[in-house]
């Protein structure tokens, strides 16, 4: 399908983020229990501005169903109750494994990309 082809003119960061969003969400929640929009904001503030809000909310639902997150409703001073997410024991284990794997993966990608500039310049005037 054409829409799945990588664009020759630009890099689609959303594809790269898809696999990393689970870890990003778990990492934010690991700091302290918090709610959906706050999690999205912390992810944006970290520099991942391309992450869509809907992706964060959907990811929270999926991680909760998988037992990696806990959830509780907390009364708000005004307005409806708000759902706060926390890290479950399984989530903590998953995050620890993810951190280790991310270190290995990012080091390998860094090494590959560091060797790439000479290749990228090939054929350019």
């Amino acid at each position: 399908m054409d829409s799945e082809k990588p664009s020759p003119s630009g890099f689609d960061a959303t594809q790269l983020l898809k696999g990393a969003l689970d870890l990003a969400v778990l990492a934010v929640v690991a700091r302290h229990d918090t709610y959906g929009y706050e999690i999205a904001r912390r992810i944006w503030d970290s520099g991942l501005a391309d992450v869509r809000e809907a992706s964060v909310y959907g990811t929270l639902n999926r991680l909760f169903r998988a037992g990696l997150l806990t959830a509780r409703l907390e009364a708000s001073p005004a307005g409806p109750h708000r759902k706060y997410y926390g890290l479950s024991d399984d989530g903590a284990g998953y995050l620890a494994a993810g951190q280790a794997q991310w270190g290995v993966t990012s080091a390998a990608i860094d090494a590959l990309l560091a060797a790439a500039p000479s290749i990228a310049r090939r054929g350019t005037p």
Binding site: Y35, A54, Y57, N61, F64, G79, P80
Partner: protein, 159 residues
């Protein structure tokens, strides 16, 4: 910032449109996803347009579904040897009324094609001043359309 007690009309309309796209999901998952959206809409400044901030409701819902791991809705296909009534009842029981609605919507191109054929046949019938040729043409078109529709398994039997 004080949060408003309830959603305004614009927020309610946005939420309703997202809800419509999630109607086939399990009730608990649907409620969980909608609660997230509602919470966000309540926090949104009243002057903000949810469609500008969050995107079109259908697109937002599609992203929600994808990130949550729910497949996007694809219109089901009715087997040719199962009657429309039997198939509709089975789908409604298994997947809720949404599956039947999606199926009917998927037939839209076929209905438009039938209307086009019927219009042409009607014009020909009038031009031939009600002669046998015009009625014969309508009959021929109906047979062709029915045979093709049933062959594709997307045409209600007996229509």
């Amino acid at each position: 910032m004080n949060r408003p007690e309830t959603l305004g009309p614009a927020g309610q309309a946005y939420l309703a449109e997202v809800d419509e796209q999630l109607i086939d999901l399990d009730l608990a998952d649907r409620a969980d996803l909608l609660a997230q959206v509602e919470d966000r809409l309540v926090d949104m400044e009243s002057a903000q347009d949810a469609t500008v901030v969050l995107g079109a409701p259908a697109l937002f819902a599609a992203e929600l579904r994808q990130a949550a791991g729910f497949d996007l809705v694809t219109p089901p296909v009715r087997p040719a040897d199962v009657s429309l009534l039997q198939w509709s009842m089975a789908q409604a029981q298994r997947s809720g009324p949404r599956a039947v609605i999606d199926y009917v919507r998927s037939l839209r191109p076929a209905w438009w094609a039938l209307r086009g054929f019927s219009l042409v046949a009607l014009v020909l019938a009038v031009l031939s001043k009600g002669g046998g040729w015009g009625l014969h043409t309508i009959g021929s078109y109906s047979q062709v359309v029915e045979v093709r529709g049933q062959h594709a398994g997307r045409w209600p039997a007996g229509v």
